[in-house]
Amino acid sequence: MERSLAKSLQEYLRGIAGGLLFSLPLLYTMEVWWAGFITHPIRLLIYVLATFSLLLAYNRYAGLRRSAGALEVAIDSVEEMGLGLVIAAVMLWLLGQINAEMNLTEISGKIIVEAMTVAIGVSVGTAQLGGDGKEGDTGMQGEDAQPSSSPIPFLTDNQGDFGGQIAIALCGAVLFAANLAPTEEIIVIAIETPTARLLGLALLSILFAVLILFYSDFTGSQRFSQIRGIKNILFGAVVTYAIALVASAAILWFFGRFDNTTLFICLAQTVVLGVAATLGASAGRLLLQ
């Protein structure tokens, strides 16, 4: 059965609201505009493809129509990216960052860099901001929809949708970390902070992961809280932090923060950004599904 026009229009508007909600800080950040024309095309291409993969994964495991066929997931991802491009273009124009006098490489670069986060925001917004979205569509009948009463060990290897958990955690990490990664502050903190305190930040991140996932009583966390066991907690925290570090490093690399930088400063930046990414990976993954 086709959805009614009103319903699909509602979904798109929800997506647009979500896109702006999650990416507005980036649209208002100078460093991101600059990244648009500084970034080499090859790096830009990798960024677009990585975002598209993330969209596919998110739509597959947590999106509005998660049980839909592969083709429908791909179509949704293309639509989200298209909406992202349009929203980014309109916002950048309104903010005076693109105009007709500029060269095409500059305009397209700025739009593309901004559009990627907007697209993830659109995806999350469409799926999460709706009150009736989950029941209305085929969403919850999917094979990986678990009844919320049965406790599921978080991120344990015997679980069927381990890949899905990782995909959602990665989405949360990227969504949160992308807002901080392009700013100068990350490198300033990384350079100025003594090693001992960097270690403190790393431990804090892991502590947050444990608290949010197992003890916070966040929406959804009760699904894991019944099976605390030291092994599960340790496993969950380590995997979450690992995902956060990978996401941080990838975004920092894209924004050129690793170029001509010594390994230790790269690592320090990853740890500094990792705090935000861990919050995203743990809280985000509870809220995003």
Binding site: E2, P41, E80, G82, L83, T105, S108
Partner: protein
Amino acid sequence: MKKLEKNWLEWIVFAISLILVLFTLGYIVYDGATLGETPPNIELQLSQPQPQGDRFIIPVTAKNLGDATAETVQIEVTLNSGGKEAETSQFEIAFLPRYSTRRGWVIFQTDPRTVEQIQARVLGFEKP
């Protein structure tokens, strides 16, 4: 495969999105394939001096013909009279992306229309 259930609005949004995404990917690939390795190459162009109150302004256009972005581009314009430097002015451009143009003005006390030669040059820039 299950038949797709989409109404016309969804098909239109999808079609436009697909075009945008394919165009974007195509453009990036084209840009990457044609991008050379030349460093920033900045060309300056001076326009007609205009009097403004008790001073004179000259519009300067800077165009980067190289394949890389230049940061903090320092531009100096000198008025030469009788083989001597009469007056010097300068300004800075924060970012000059590849193939892009930025505009600025230099301001002088001396009337540029009375000097023999106006010289503009780029002092230097940073790699972002």
